[in-house]
Symmetry: C2
Subunit: 418 residues, 2 copies
């Protein structure tokens, strides 16, 4: 069977299954999640065997250490997958929620009902745990899912899929509610992102090159995360201790996450005071600093930052540092070089805080808090499918609600339009 025929078959099955999962009750969905979690733990040995096959192939292909690390399953990561599903089971069911039901002068009652999106296509790279996470989030939000994992994780993903199907079957739902693509043919992605009749939204989870390819080629709306060039701006009216604590945490608490600070902006009025102790902390923690001329004057030995640096999401132990005149230049810098992900100001001045909140056009804007807080769990969403840097639909961390939409409902008693 050619890949187009195969993918269109998957699409048709998903569309059909989406009607069953959309009307599945809360109890059935939670029960399915519980059975999947139990199956993952019970079949841990089989999962590890499947994973071992993937790892062997990966080593033969000489994948780099980081990729192999992401690919590796352990009993701990399997338990974490099962725990994640149990967490999703405990979240309130978003489907069917009715909001804002109000009477209108005509006598009709108008409100909105939260409903699933339909069929969600998820494209991801090596981490097999995404298979369980994404399946769980789609299932709970009443959506059918088509999961396209990395070819290097094919055996692991299929083993996880078997557990997912066990859970669906246990509550009488079609196994096709969650389909994991069985071919490693790269053209499968091309088909998935153009099957407008079968797929309602694409959620890509992967590196920038994957996202950029999908942005060029997808004919289906996406909820996507491009990149995170996050800033912290230390205002000259910042509290010194808060500035140090936040700027330290935003960069060094974890280096490789999308909400990690990549550029530090410091007002010239406080730069002399705050940069020396802060840079001492960074250097002690092994962070390479790249500064503009003014920053290098205050902290000699810093490398010179290039224009390219201001645009760069390092995701490693490098930080660019710029001294700015004040709030206006900080906002200007963030607007020019930022990626509309997460940006923070440290200031005690409420007027400047209000301006920063209003004028910085990013998915998360913070006052006196570390950018590292930009996360579905920290925001109380319970779980996240990703962080959206788009403006339409969902912005910032996307939880169950981001996988739903609102339709209007109208209740009347024989009402007609005059």
């Amino acid at each position: 069977m050619d890949v187009q025929t195969y993918m269109h078959g998957v699409g048709r099955e998903a569309r059909a299954a989406s009607r069953f999962i959309a009307k599945a009750g809360t109890h059935a969905k939670n029960q399915a999640l519980t059975v999947i979690a139990q199956a993952l733990e019970r079949k841990a040995k089989r999962l590890l065997e499947a994973n071992a096959r993937d790892l062997e192939a990966a080593r033969k292909k000489k994948l780099d250490a980081a990729s192999i690390d992401r690919l590796t399953l352990t009993t701990t990561t399997i338990e974490a997958m099962a725990d994640g599903l149990m967490q999703i089971a405990k979240l309130p069911d978003p489907v069917g929620e009715i909001i804002g039901l109000k009477y209108r002068p005509s006598g009709i009652q108008v409100g909105q009902m939260r409903v699933p999106l339909g069929v969600i296509g998820i494209i991801y790279e090596s981490r097999p745990n995404v298979t369980a996470d994404a399946a769980g989030l789609c299932l709970k939000s009443g959506n059918a899912a088509i999961l396209r994992g990395g070819s290097e994780a094919i055996h692991s993903n299929q083993a996880i899929a078997a557990c997912v199907h066990e859970g669906l079957k246990a509550v009488g739902l079609p196994e096709t509610v969650v389909q994991v693509i069985e071919t490693t043919d790269r053209n499968a992605v091309g088909e998935l992102i153009t099957m407008q009749d079968y797929v309602d939204v694409i959620v890509p989870r992967g590196g920038k090159s994957l996202i950029e390819r999908l942005m060029r080629e997808s004919r289906i709306p996406m909820i996507k995360h491009l990149h995170g060039v996050c800033h912290t701006y230390i205002d000259d009216k910042a509290d010194f201790d808060k500035a140090i604590r936040i700027a330290d945490n935003a960069k060094t608490q974890r280096l490789g996450t999308c909400n990690t600070m990549e550029t530090l902006l410091v007002a010239k009025g406080i730069a002399d005071k705050v940069l020396p102790p802060l840079c001492k902390i960074y250097l002690e923690k092994g962070i390479e600093l790249r500064g503009d001329a003014a920053a290098r004057k205050i902290v000699p030995g810093m490398k010179a930052a290039t224009e390219e640096d201001w645009y760069t999401e390092y995701l490693e132990a490098i930080l660019s540092v710029r001294v700015v005149d004040g709030l206006d230049q900080a906002i200007e810098h963030i607007t020019t070089y930022g990626s509309q992900h997460t940006d923070a100001i440290v200031t005690e001045d409420i007027t400047r805080a209000r301006r920063f909140l209003a004028e910085v056009d990013s998915s998360s804007v913070m006052v006196n808090a570390s950018t590292r807080f930009a996360d579905g769990y920290e925001y109380g969403l319970g779980a996240e499918i990703g962080i959206s840097t788009d403006k339409l639909h969902a912005r910032g961390p996307v939880g169950l609600e981001g996988l739903t939409s609102l339709k209007y409902i109208v209740l009347g008693d024989g009402h007609i339009r005059q």
Copy 2:
């Protein structure tokens, strides 16, 4: 200057202007709307002269009567444009609204702030009043607008644009907040829908062929309205009088609107009783009926409906009629042939009403009310830029809120991630 250079210039200006309009105060925006409304009325003569030039060209090109009707401005339609802008001025400002600000266990406060989308590209056909409406809605919601009207309305649109610019200037906003494309070169649309760096969302308002072209070619997310194949299902537990009243109103109150019923579904248990009097009403009002075999048996003389009829948005005095077994077959029919726009059930049975509300996947789902209510004004949105049949972002009538998005805001007091 070639069209690409021109359009990219427009895009750059719009992006720059979007930052000014995003932070404009409520009073300034309302003042601008008021001045525009006054200018439209004061310059009515100039508008009618510009419109006369368009109409003359249209007649030479032998445009059909309906197009010429849509193109025509009168003192009444100019007053209506001005009134519309004053209505928008009276609506609450959506920008800056903060919702759901709550403390999290970590101590941070997390909420969402409503913000403009940025730059909105609107592509429409002959009606020049869209120029004023769309400019007003974008301005009030803090967005810059690039308006691309039909080439046949170019002089009318430019005359309206002059009034819009007068209003923007009066409050010190850049005129580039609203740009009306000055070229009739058809390639301008192709540029507009692919300038991802400058345009955040495309709102097309036009016929199906325009929308289908944009769906193929646009690289920018759209808020779009494809078509409206709306259904009314009369259940066998319907109240007879409500059924007649609603089915009559949904089809005949206005024939050419997207929320007009195109297909009537009647449960076989009530068809004998309800179809004869209802069809009498339709025939008296000049509606052509096209039925399935069962409907034609009850109302002889009805034309036979073809498979194509069930998919058709007539937008004229034609109605297709089908007798169904009951609720399941009605939902099945709507799922197969509908356009996810607006569908209604007439029933006194609460369980069936609840199932219809939950299972019909349309932007508006109604119980015992006419589909004609699917409208921004009737829903209390105050004004609408269109009705979205998309699932992501905005669904159903789209008002000011649909032209905004929600970003997360985080307030701390030196909080860091543990």
